[in-house]
Amino acid sequence: MSAAELRAAAGAELIKVRRAVMLWATVISFLVAALVGAFFMFVLQDPARARSLGLLGTKAQLSGGTADWPGYFALVAQMVAVGGMLLFGMILIWLFGREFADGTVKDLLALPTSRAAVVVAKLVVALVWSLLLTAELVAVSLPLGVMLALPGWSTQVLLHGVGVIVATACLTVILTTTYALAASWGRGYLAAVATLFVTAITAQIVSAVGYGAWFPWAVPSLMSGVAGPDQATPGPAGILSVIIVGVLASTATVLWWQRADHDR
């Protein structure tokens, strides 16, 4: 697989992405996520005010967050971990699954551009797309935080907060390669969506019982701090497990495209 092949495949992918409803659906979803995060901070700042404005039910209790910049960054990171797994996963499922759903996969199989380049280009496009969405979330959240006049701002808090968000996004994107494999192996959306839900639900359960650090799909959530301040962040072993899953899933996807019988 040469750089020219990868450029050709990525260029072709970009034409498809540019016209996709999926592109705007994800952009709007992350915009809404940013607004929801800011809204949560607004309520958390003064629950009594929120109740008086009718934004919070009289019996509603808020917990697990502080209305300051560290708390705000942690909330955004958690959104990336949980929402990102679904949205980034859907991006990869769409990139791969559509070729089977639209019957266009056969036009990708006997070309001067290798199948490996086609697969890697899709993975790269998904990575860039997901990171740009993360950047959008941060870029929209920052001015909203300023408007809310959240306390606790410092350059160190900013760098640490954004660092955790980016690390969480990267770990999440790496794990979504599993769905590329599932969409290819299942030749469409269904198996991949099922895999997405199974892994997401299992990660929640495993995290809840305290073994999240041992389950790769729970690692991004632990990194984001969604399990609470008393839960340790994933160590090198957890991060390594995510990388291993990503490498195995990416390699298996390339091998599947190269070696499977494409009889449909």
Binding site: A20, D107, A110
Partner: protein
Amino acid sequence: MTSAVISVQGVSKRYGDLDAVDDVSLEVGAGEVYALLGLNGAGKTTLIRMLLGMIRPTTGTLEVAGRPVPDRSVWAEVGYLVETPSAYPDLTVRENLEVARRLRRLPVAGVVEAAVARFGLGQYEGSKARTLSLGNAQRLGLAKAKLHRPRILVLDEPVNGLDPAGVVEVRELLIGLAREDGVTVLLSSHLLSEVARIATRIGILHEGRLIEELDSTTLDANTRTRLEVVSRDLARAAGILRGAGFVLQPEAGDTLVLGGRAVLHPEEVATALVNGGEPPTRLVVVEEDLEAHFMRLVGHHADPTGGTP
């Protein structure tokens, strides 16, 4: 035959107990138009997919342009269309061609424009592929296959869905490519009449086996045609025709069927019926379709329960 551009040697593909393709060997020379004929499920598409490296054969070897499949270096010389044409539905015709151009790493200038013009897609250039008729989608598929001016074309049912003008257009295109540009064409079809007009050689596949290979003139000689006649009083018409020396074939239904001289001179049949006071309300020469030819070939007339895929 000139040296083989496409070579299939002892190729089989087995799925469990099913032999989708069973020990097929064939060769296609440069500039030939070779047609694979067969009913649905005969193994045509499986063979074509194996030739394009999409399916691995269980046994046997395939070569394209002297290189073993799936040597990727050959694909720059091959254009293909497999089964129903597919395109990205939310991209325009032009964007779909642009995707193909990039993946084939062709120069920017003129390639897409030439394909649009060559296949009469100018009117639909800005239309989303999802809005195309089946015929225009087929044109788009052919335009993608021809985008890089390949010297080998592998086309699975290339005239499916095309209107009569489109069928003629594709036929002339393929004949022109083979004769003038020396392009080698391997196509599959179940349309006997169309194949007979295009192909220089024909291979008939049945239940995964290549049961007959013949050139187009041999096929013509083997193809049976019949004259079908309908009139207001069939019994009277039959009497008139027998009296005029025509031999009627035993066919049930409300149509008289004649062979031999009647097929060569249908005007004599019409004249006899008009002169006998029983003018035909319908008189048509019918070329038997692949299935009829095929059933005759494998003897299924004698064993209607023999089953075909």
